[in-house]
């Protein structure tokens, strides 16, 4: 099982009591609380941590993108990919991912990803996501069209990578009369595509049909298994065999020399489970963004919100792993046994977890954990 390093690049640089005054930290928490000096330093710090994760032997560096939220100030996943393409050497660069439904120019997206793939020497893993509702509000993109745009944007990007130009594209949501990108990915036919899942059976089926790597995020094991079943169903429809390499899982994880230190550091993950997800329901799931089936599955998938769980419960349920390297190895092995995944994505820094703690965790993961889980 391969390990991936991930930081949301949080900007938890404001008094919590200020954030508590608003219905959510997303969309409406005023950006006067954005600290430019601290943000400038944090970007340097976060990139250093990614670079160290590359040196420590992580199989991949996962990056993502959100908007209008202090929980993640990585506002341009392709920008970060371009930087890491140049400053790292070995690890895959896992963009998980680009938010396709809010993208107005899939051709430029295809070009930018190709350029990152070229600069990185073919290390891009190109994740595509539907996004959470907040990004729909941020971009003023109609949630009714979310799935249609996701699929059409994907189709056009793939065509840019695989069909000889020039060609014309007249779709429902995208219209380009002269498509002929002079930047194509190094990997042939194109970078591997990854798809995250939280609650949508349709997405799991869709990814399964295409053989894309599918990664449920922070869901209970039984829900992940159900989503994997949808994935397998999609794969079976086209006669595709599913291997561990097709499946991943995302959890939060930190390690330290002592259990006490690790458990203390792990508390920082609670912020991303609670305060950063607090919002009126229509902000995360605006009208029409989810199908009826998706909405019903979401209700079952989250009988309890992550926000309502204590730190101890989050640890017990494997949403967070925090322990010595040996304890972490045991936990990861359990995840592998439960789910049979080939890729474990570690959200490995959060909230106000400091730089030394983060670096030490990366170092121990590389030196102690990775060799032990590599054979799982």
């Amino acid at each position: 099982m391969k390990l991936y390093y991930f930081s949301e690049m949080p900007h938890h640089e404001f008094p919590d009591e200020e954030g508590d005054k608003y219905p959510s930290l997303r969309l409406e928490f005023p950006n006067r609380f954005f600290d430019r000096e601290k943000a400038a330093a944090n970007y340097q710090r976060y990139l250093t941590e990614y670079e160290f994760a590359d040196q420590a032997g992580f199989a991949g560096l996962m990056i993502n993108e959100h908007h209008s939220t202090p929980s993640c100030v990585n506002v341009g996943v392709n920008m970060t990919a371009a930087i890491l393409a140049r400053t790292t050497r070995r690890a895959k660069i896992l963009l998980l991912g680009n938010i396709l439904p809010i993208e107005d120019n899939p051709v430029r997206m295809a070009e930018q990803l190709a350029m990152a793939d070229l600069i990185s020497g073919g290390r891009v893993l190109s994740g595509f996501v539907r996004g959470v509702g907040v990004e729909t509000w941020w971009s003023n993109s109609n949630p009714i069209h979310n799935r249609e745009r996701f699929e059409e944007c994907h189709d056009l990007i793939l065509k840019c990578w695989t069909a000889p130009g020039p060609f014309r594209w007249e779709g429902r949501h995208y219209h380009f009369r002269h498509v002929n990108p002079w930047c194509l990915p190094l990997q042939k036919p194109h970078p591997p595509i990854w798809i995250p899942g939280t609650a949508s059976p349709e997405t799991a089926l869709w990814a399964g049909r295409r053989g894309y790597t599918y990664v449920p995020f922070l869901v209970p094991f039984e829900i992940a298994r159900e989503l994997f079943d949808f994935y397998r169903q999609g794969a079976a429809e086209v006669g595709r065999t599913v291997t561990p390499d097709n499946l991943g899982f995302l959890i939060c994880a930190v390690t330290a020399e002592t259990k006490a230190k690790a458990v203390e550091a792990g508390r920082h993950f609670v912020w991303r489970m609670g305060p950063t997800l607090r919002a009126p329901v229509d902000w995360f799931a605006p009208v029409g963004m989810r199908s009826r089936a998706g909405s019903q599955f979401a209700l079952r998938a989250r009988p309890r919100s992550l926000a309502s769980m204590s730190y101890e419960e989050l640890l017990a349920e494997h949403f967070i792993v925090a322990g010595t390297p040996d304890e972490v190895i045991d936990r990861f092995a359990r995840v592998q046994r439960e789910l049979g995944v080939g890729h474990l994505l570690l959200e490995a820094q959060e909230s106000r977890m400091d730089h030394p703690t983060t670096m030490r965790s990366i170092e121990l993961m590389g030196a102690k954990v990775m060799p032990a889980v590599a054979s799982l």
Binding site: N140, S141, N142, P143, I144, D282, P286
Partner: protein
């Protein structure tokens, strides 16, 4: 008077329509919340007019229209509906989203309709203030934001007094989805509409609630300035739902404006 139900097929879409009353035809176009039933004002107006109250495509129990992109599509659709239903040259009364639709219809075909009643219509970009982002708030929050004072709404109990059935919840979700499909961007307005309003010489009554928190009352003035043969009537202590909040006053205004043959 109990109306009858019809499903009228227009362009392959079954349009669920309530038809009631007698007299010249009056086409009533509902707002984003959908058709609220045969409420008191409709009963009063149908004493002098034959009221045709369809649920828009994608709303209520009408068929889907996933291909529609905006209110101009809906307006063209209803011009077609008028022909298919054989309404001749009806008066058109539209509320909120329906008012915008009625205004678009008039700009497209002034001769297809007789008199216009626009009740707190969206459709124009407010010169001051903003149209409330109704998709940003939950239906429960909106219920109190749309009216000035729920306690003064005579039919509140009949309309909102009991928990909705599963079918009603499904319809409410559908209505919200179709409203989003039609109005998301530019939000609830057509930047080109004001340029066409001067074409509409049909006599037009614009009605607004003074306390409307959804659409700024200034939009009423903008419509009045844009429509050459219009007048604006403002109801005091009234929010975004004049037909529900002040049904008797509202029905009287409509009847006075449209005329019609008194039955007695």
């Amino acid at each position: 008077m109990r109306p009858r139900e019809e499903t009228i097929s227009v362009g392959g879409i079954g349009v669920h329509t309530w038809v009631g009353g007698q007299g010249d035809p009056l086409l009533v176009l509902h707002g984003a919340g959908g058709y609220r039933g045969w409420t008191r004002w409709l009963d009063q107006v149908s004493e002098r007019f034959t009221v045709w109250a369809p649920s828009h495509p994608g709303f209520g129990r009408s068929g889907d229209a996933d291909w529609m992109e905006g209110v101009d599509d809906l307006a063209r659709f209803y011009l077609w509906f008028i022909e298919v239903a054989g309404l001749g040259r009806p008066h058109v009364l539209g509320h909120s989203l329906g008012g915008w639709t009625a205004a678009e219809m008039a700009t497209m075909s002034t001769g297809a309709i007789d008199r216009l009643v626009l009740v707190a219509p969206v459709g124009l970009k407010p010169e001051t203030g903003e149209i409330l982002d109704v998709f940003y708030y939950s239906p429960a929050q909106l219920m109190t934001m749309t009216v000035h004072d729920a306690k003064t709404v005579p039919e509140w109990q009949e309309i909102y007094g009991r928990p909705p059935s599963p079918e009603e919840i499904e319809i409410a979700t559908r209505n919200r989805e179709m409203a989003a499909r039609l109005t998301w961007k530019p939000y609830m307005h057509n930047p080109r509409l004001p340029h066409f309003l001067p074409r509409v010489t049909n006599p037009t009554l614009i009605v607004w609630g003074r306390e409307d928190r959804v659409v700024p009352i200034g939009c009423g003035e903008q419509y009045r300035r844009g429509l050459p043969n219009s007048k604006l009537t403002v109801l005091e202590r009234c929010g975004h739902l004049p037909p529900i909040e002040q049904p008797d006053v509202f029905a009287r205004l409509v009847l006075d404006f449209l005329g019609g043959d008194p039955r007695r």
